[in-house]
């Protein structure tokens, strides 16, 4: 009996780890593309919030979670285009502008929600995306359930990791992309269009961050409330640092943060005696400790965070 309970517990824990890690992974990969092109985007939280709302609303109206994800991506891109224009073309400070996005996008999301559902609306829930178990693989005991019994977005998120790895390390386009983040002037002199690459990075970043937000409201929670993102964008940001700007490392970091999140939720269910606030601190404290012990100073792209002006010598 005890053994069965334990197997069940571990299976549940791993299952929710994979689910919790997904939004962090998607958004961390988003940031990876952005930073590889030299754009530090700390507006992830804001883009996620807006994507979460867009996904929720679309899903609520059409009853189709996939359209919700698509809407999340589109809205994430459009918000990030504001950031892209101001930081790439105007050369505004990236950190400052990311912060502006973090303030602006959630305010806009909350406004649209209140306009649509009225000021004093109750919590409204929508249809969640159903799981699509992969044939054969999903039938493997324990492992099948943990790895191959998820919504398509989860598979997509994990497929992004090898794709990103191959893109950055094995393709010419990816190497050009990286060159922009390392030394934009040299890249420009080799005929790489720096500005266009940076905009492309912003499109990818915004789209993925929007999907990460929409995942929360269409496949995970099913309701929208202000603060639904609760710092996941910043956790994703630290996943990039902890993962040392490499897709594999980012995956590990996302799984670790997903694990701590899953663990604290499981523990809340199991021992109701402990105040939940103390358990809910675990993911944040874990992020801090992991960064403090394993974060390194200079592994990121060299020209990260600097504006690029073509004419400047």
């Amino acid at each position: 009996m005890e053994a069965i309970m334990n197997v069940n517990f571990i299976q549940e824990l791993l299952l929710s780890m994979v689910r919790m890690a997904t939004p962090i992974l998607i958004v961390a990969i988003a940031e990876l593309y952005s930073e590889r092109a030299g754009l530090v985007n700390i507006g992830l939280d804001g883009m996620m919030a807006f994507g979460a709302l867009a996904g929720f609303l679309t899903c609520y109206i059409t009853n189709n979670p996939y359209l919700g994800i698509l809407a999340g991506a589109i809205c994430g891109i459009s918000v990030n285009m504001v950031y892209a224009f101001c930081t790439i073309t105007l050369g505004a400070e990236q950190i400052v502008y990311g912060m502006a996005i973090n303030i602006f996008a959630p305010a806009l999301a909350s406004f649209i929600y209140k306009i649509y559902f009225g000021i004093n609306s109750t919590l409204i829930s929508n249809t969640l995306m159903s799981a699509a178990p992969i044939p054969f693989l999903g039938k493997i005991p324990v492992l099948g359930n943990v790895l191959f019994n998820h919504t398509p977005i989860v598979y997509l998120a994990y497929l992004l990791v090898p794709f990103t790895y191959v893109f950055f390390n094995k393709t010419k386009a990816g190497l050009n992309f990286k060159a922009v983040g390392e030394f934009p002037k040299a890249a420009e002199s080799l005929g790489i269009n720096v500005i266009r690459t940076k905009y492309l990075a912003s499109v990818i970043c915004g789209g993925l961050a929007g999907i990460g937000g929409a995942y929360l409201t269409t496949s995970y929670i099913g309701t929208y409330s202000d603060g639904v993102v609760s710092g996941r964008g910043f956790i994703a940001l630290s996943a990039v640092i902890f993962g040392r700007w490499m897709p594999g490392g980012v995956l590990l970091a996302a799984l670790l943060f997903g694990f701590t999140d899953a663990l604290q939720l499981r523990m809340q269910v199991l021992n109701s005696g402990t105040p939940y606030q103390l358990l809910a601190m675990i993911p944040y404290l874990c992020t801090l400790f992991v960064l403090a012990f394993f974060g390194i100073k200079k592994a990121g792209p060299k020209a990260n965070g600097r504006p690029f002006f073509k004419e400047e010598r």
Partner: protein, 353 residues
């Protein structure tokens, strides 16, 4: 050269505010409201009566503190996004002091409590500082994570050990900050905030230590070559920034809320960053913008009651101000645009080099 730069620095936020109000008006019209009516409710809510004016000052007070905290840190080139956590920890320290240190005169208790709040905020602020200078960690991420920890810790306190009554909240403090000048009733906390702003202004712009601190913010390499103690200055800026936010939390506790409960200090950290950036990282600007935000907030409730428009319209206007102000500052600093400005004023600025 300097006066021209200063003029631009003042003009950019003002234009940003005007444009944001215009966009806000269009937005209100789009959802079927009457912008003029909405804004008149807004200003009536903020200034309509003596008690409304007083409430606006009350709302401005915590914003000034977190705005000053962000200003101080960013002047040294570090981004303190943790003002909310430091604010909360300041209030937590104050409520602990107020409930354990009884039996002494109220004014003395108040002073000890506020000093305690400053120390707690400073200690919470020193963590990202230490991690930045020793491990090179991104101070933004660390301070954000600490925000969540602080808020959860406060939640644990008011629903556990310090809970009083059936609702999850603490008991109320007995030592309270008064309100001065009878008809308008300006809260003492507001006066403290103004004094603090003046002190910070003096420190930053009229002392050699403040000059060094600003140098680190403007050009760290230059500061290092000049032999300034860069790491020490960064650490100091974190401690002072945290302490300012901590005092804010303490003042909010003793002057307005009197107890800790859900939502205490919520959003003040990010608001502070926005205010500091719009105020061009100048303590005077910070105070003014904080007051503007308070006007918007106080008026927003009246507007919602009067016109049925949600208060989040005002949140959008606030958010737009920061979006436009930052974009505007970057725009006037573009090399090409700079050239235009220089050409426009070229003849009169020969002595400026």
């Amino acid at each position: 050269m300097n006066t021209k730069n200063n003029l631009i620095k003042i003009l950019v936020p003002i234009i940003a505010i005007v444009v944001s109000f215009l966009v806000g008006a269009i937005l209100i019209a789009c959802i079927g409201g009457n912008p003029i009516e909405a804004f008149s409710y807004l200003f009536r809510g903020a200034f309509g009566s003596a008690s409304n004016i007083s409430d606006t000052f009350v709302k401005a007070t915590p914003l000034i503190f977190t705005g000053l905290a962000a200003t101080f840190a960013y002047r040294c080139g570090v981004f303190n996004l943790g003002a909310e956590g430091q604010f909360v920890m300041g209030a937590v320290a104050s409520i602990w002091i107020s409930t354990t240190l009884t039996g002494i005169p109220a004014p003395l208790q108040l002073v000890i409590s506020i000093v305690g709040g400053a120390i707690a905020g400073g200690l919470w602020g020193v963590i990202p500082g230490i991690l930045k200078i020793t491990r090179g960690l991104n101070e933004m991420i660390v301070s954000i994570m600490l925000n969540y920890v602080a808020i959860l810790f406060m939640g644990y306190l008011y629903s556990g050990p310090l809970r009083e009554g059936s609702v999850p909240q603490t008991g109320s403090v007995t030592a309270r900050l008064a309100r001065l000048f009878s008809p308008i009733r300006i809260p003492e906390g507001f006066i403290i905030a103004l004094v603090l702003a003046a002190v910070i202004y003096y420190y930053l712009f009229y002392t050699s230590s403040g000059f060094k601190l600003r140098t680190v913010g403007l050009n760290r390499t230059a500061a290092e070559y000049n032999g300034f103690p860069v790491k020490k200055l960064i650490l100091i800026s974190f401690i002072v920034s945290g302490a300012i936010a901590g005092i804010g939390g303490s003042v909010e506790l003793h002057g307005t809320q009197f107890r800790l409960m859900s939502g205490f200090g919520e959003g003040y950290g990010f608001d502070g960053v926005a205010i500091a950036l719009i105020g061009q990282l100048n303590p005077v600007g910070t105070v003014l913008v904080a007051y503007l935000f308070a006007v918007l907030r106080k008026g927003a409730t009246t507007m919602q009651v009067g016109t049925g428009l949600p208060t989040s319209v005002i949140d959008i206007i606030q958010a737009l101000v920061i979006v436009f102000a930052v974009a505007g500052s970057a725009f006037v600093n573009l090399p090409k645009i700079r050239q235009v400005f220089t050409n426009l004023t070229g003849k009169s600025k020969k002595e400026g080099k």
